[in-house]
Symmetry: D3
Subunit: 194 residues, 6 copies
C-alpha cells in the first residue's frame, strides 16, 4: 500500500513525466523492482530529477573512489544517522559491489570501529567526521585522509557522497521511507555474488 | 586569492562549461559578484549543475513556503550546523527577503529560542529536528507542524530545504568555503530594504 | 582463527570445565555451531558460568515478556549501543522468534523510530531509556510503560534484559567479539521460519 | 519502609530461599546491616543468585587488580553514570579498601580529571571509555592501558568490573534503589581505617 | 603545600590587601580554616573582591530562596558540572543548612532524579536547565517553575545563583582547586546538626 | 518597551542608586545608548554593582591579553553558548577593537574552526574547552596553551573572561535579554574603524 511507502504522496512509474519514467524504468528493469525512493520523490518531479542527476554525478563517476568504496561511505554514514532505508537499500548494493555478504551489517552496526583495510578505514573516518560532526570538521580530518594515501580527488568524492546522503538520509527520515522487501536478502546468498 | 576561497580547486566563471557560465553569470550580474560556492563547486561541473537544479527546485518554487521562509530554514539549520558560509551568505538573503536587518543574526545566534511568529517558530522547529537530530525525527515533529497550521506541501518544502542544506553545509565544511566579503553588509542598511 | 574471534584468549568447548562443556555443548548442538561469545568468555569459567546463569534467569523465564519480546529488547538496546556481535547474533534469534525476516534489520538500524505495535513500542522505549540514558531514567519512563498496559512483572523483565545486555554489549566491545558467520543468514529464508 | 528501598517488591533476608538466606546473611553479619540491593533483587531469586555469582567472580578474584582498584572502577563508572546507590555504597567500600577517607568523593565528583597515580589513572580511563562510550571503544583505548603497564589479565578485570556495574547501575536506576543510611559515613572516620 | 591547592599562584590571608584580609579572616574564624577558593583567587585581589561581593549579593540575600535552597542550587549545578571543589565545599554547607547529613551526596550523585520535595524539585530543575543547557533554555522552563509556585523573585534568585556558580565552577576547573580536607566530614555527624 | 528587553523588571538609568547611575551613565555617554544588560540587572543593584566590578577587573585590566583578545574570548564562548545578546553586543565591540568588520560573524558562526592566527587559535581553544566542556578540562588543555606561547598570566585572563561570561550568558538566557538595535551595525562600516 502506498501509505506504507512514505508519509507523503507516492507516484508509480507510470505517473512520472516522460524523462523520469524512462530513467526510473531502466533502474527498475535492472533491479527487478522500483526502489521506493523514486516513488516517494516522484510527486516532486523537479526534485527527483535533480536528485538523480546529483546521484549519478557522485555515484557513477568513473575515476576516484571505486563503486564499492562509494557504497561503503553511504552505508557508514547512513548507519551513523540510523537511516533505515539507506542502510537496507545501500547495504544490499554494498554486499554486491564488495562481493562480501557480511560487510554491510558490520559497517552499519558500528561504522566507528568495524575492522576494515587501512584505506577503507581512512575513507570511513573522513566520511563520519563530515556526516556526524561537521561543526568541528577541520584540516586535521583531511590530513589524516591524506596520510592514509587518499588523493585530493578521492577526498572530494568522499565529501560529495557524504553530503549527498546527508540530504538523502533526511528525505528518508522525513518520509519514513520503507525499504523494498527485496533489498533485505540481496547479496546475501552465494549466487548473488556472481 | 583562490586558496582563500576553498581547500580544493576553484574555477572562475570563464572556466565553466557554456551552460554553467551563462547560468552563474546571470547570478553574478544580479548580485554584483560571483558567490564563492559556485567557484568552489565549479571544478566538478556535473555536481555544480545538479546542485543548481536542486537549489532552484526547492528554493525558487512558486507555491508552498514564501521565499523569506525558505531562507529562514537555511539560516536556522546552517546556524545549528555552525556553517559559516551558509550563515553569512544566506543571512544576507534572509535580511533582504524578510526586509529585516536584524533577523539573520538573531536566528543564526540561537535558532532554538529566537523569538518568532508562531508560524515561523513551527517552520524552524521542524527544520531543526530534521537537520540536527534526524535519528529521532518522528510523527511527533510532523504533528506539531500540522497543529501550527502548516500544510503537507509546506512541510515537504521545509524538509526539502533542510535536506538540501544538510548537503550544502557539508560541502562548505569540506572546503572551508569563504563567504564573499560583500555578504556581510548586504541588507543591513536602510537602502538595502528597497 | 582464534585471534579473529576476540582480542583475548579463546577456549574451545573441549577446553571448558565439565559443567560448562556440557552446557555449551548442548547450545552448540541446537545451533549447529558454538556461538563465539562462549569461546571468548571461556577463559574465565566463573564468569562464563555466572553469565549463563544470568542469561537463563532473564531470557528463559516462563512468565512475563514473550521470548520474541526479550530478543526485541536485546536487538534494540544493542543497536543503540552499536554492538555488532549482539546485533548480528540476537538479530538472527529475533528473526526466528518473531517469525519475521526483516524485523531485526529495521530495529537495529533505528530502534528509536522503527514502526512497531503499540505494545512493542512501549517495550522498546523503556529499554532504550534505561540502556542509553540511565542518568535521567525516571518515574516518567515507568509511567509511560504502565500506561501502555505493561505489568510490573513485564517492566522488571525489560529492565533486567536491558541491564544484562548493558553488560554483554561491553564484553563484546572489550573483546571486539566477532559474530559467527552463520548468524548473518539465519532466519532470513522462508525455510527458517518453520 | 520497603517502598522507600525500591520501586519494586522488596524481600527481607528471611523471605529468601535457603542458599540465598545464608549467603546474604553472611554479608549482613559482616556489614552490620543488609545492603538494600539484596532486598531489591530478592524477589527474583534466580537473578539475585546469578548477580552474586557474577559479583564474586569479578570482585573477589585473587589475582589481577587489587580489591581497592576494583572498587575504584566501580565508583568511577558509577559516578559517570550518576548512579546514587553504587556511588554511595561502593564509595564506602572504596574508602575502606583504599584506606583513604576522601578518595571516593573525589572520584565520584569527577572521574575524568581526578588526580590519581599513573596506574590508577590508566585503570579509570579504560573503565570510563568502556562504560560511557562503548560505541567508539577501540584498540586505542587498550593500547593506552598497555602502555601504562597494565597486563592483559588486569585489563580483562577492568572490563569485567565495568560490564558488571553497567548492569548493576541500570538495576539501581530501574528501582531507584535507596542506599542504606549506614553507607554514608562508613570509612570517613579515623577508626574506620583500622 | 600551595601547589596542591591550585595550578596558579596561591596567597595566604596575610598576603591579601587590608580589606580582603579582614573579610577572609572573618570567614576563616567562623569556619575554623581558610577555604582554598580565597587563597586561589587572592593573587588577583580585584577579582576576589568582586567575587565576594557577587557571592554575598546572591547567597546572603534576606528575601527569596532560603539559604538551604541556595546551597541546593549550588550543589545540584556543581554536581552536573562535575566540579569537585564546589561539590565538596558546598555539599558541607548544604548538609548544615538543610540539617540533613545525606542530602548533599544524593543531590551531587544525580541531581536530575534525586527524590526531593515538589518545591525543591522545581528549584533544581530550573537551575539544571540554565546551568547545563542554556542554549535551549526557554519560557517552558520558566513556566514549569511558576506552575510549581515559585515567585518571580525566587526564580531570579535561582538564575543568579546558577549563573554565579557557572563562573565559580569554571574557576575551580581552571585551577584544579583542591577542597580543604575539613569540608569532607562537616555536617555528617550528629553534633554538626546543632 | 521594557517587556521586550527582559523577562524580568527593567530599570532605567534614572531609577538606579547614585553610584550606579553615574557609572552606567558614563557608559551610555560613551556608547550613545544604555546597553540593555544594565537595565535588566538594575532591579538588583547589588548584583549589577558586583557584575560591573567583576567586568572591569577582567575586561579592563592593563596587562595580559589585549582588549581585542578579551572580546575574542567573549564572542567565541558566547557563540558556543548560542547567547544572542552577548554575540551581538560583544560582536560589535570585537569588530571595533580588532578593527575588522567581519571577524565577529566568523567567530560566532563557528568558533571551533574559524581561521585565526596561531595565538588567537590557542586563546579560543582554551576558552572553548573551559566554557563548553569544563567536566573534562585538564592539564592537556593548559599545556596546549603554554605550547602556543601563552603566559600563566594570559591563561588566567582567558579563564577569568570565560568564567565571567559563563555567568553573563546565563543571565542573558534567563532574561531573554534583547540586544539594543545599535549593536547590529556598529563596527561594520569603514568610518567605524576610525
Amino acid at each position: 500500500m502506498a501509505e506504507d511507502v512514505s508519509r507523503f504522496p507516492v507516484v508509480d512509474v507510470d505517473g512520472l513525466p516522460d524523462d523520469l519514467r524512462v530513467r526510473v524504468g531502466q533502474i527498475a528493469e535492472k533491479s527487478g523492482f522500483v526502489p521506493n525512493v523514486f516513488r516517494a520523490l516522484g510527486h516532486r518531479p523537479a526534485e527527483l530529477r535533480a536528485f538523480l542527476d546529483y546521484h549519478d554525478a557522485v555515484m557513477e563517476r568513473d575515476s576516484g573512489l571505486s563503486k564499492a568504496e562509494r557504497e561503503l561511505v553511504v552505508v557508514a554514514t547512513s548507519g551513523a544517522n540510523s537511516c533505515t532505508y539507506c542502510v537496507v537499500a545501500h547495504g544490499a548494493i554494498l554486499r554486491i559491489r564488495a562481493k562480501d555478504p557480511r560487510i554491510a551489517d558490520r559497517v552499519a552496526a558500528n561504522p566507528w570501529t568495524v575492522e576494515l583495510t587501512e584505506r577503507q578505514r581512512a575513507v570511513v573516518d573522513l566520511a563520519l567526521a563530515l556526516a556526524v560532526d561537521p561543526v568541528t570538521f577541520s584540516r586535521v580530518d583531511l590530513d589524516a585522509a591524506r596520510d592514509a594515501g587518499l588523493t585530493e580527488d578521492e577526498i572530494w568524492d568522499i565529501g560529495a557522497v557524504t553530503a549527498l546522503f546527508a540530504l538523502s538520509n533526511r528525505i528518508a527520515h522525513l518520509t519514513a521511507l520503507r525499504p523494498n522487501d527485496e533489498f533485505y536478502l540481496m547479496g546475501r546468498l552465494p549466487r548473488d555474488q556472481n
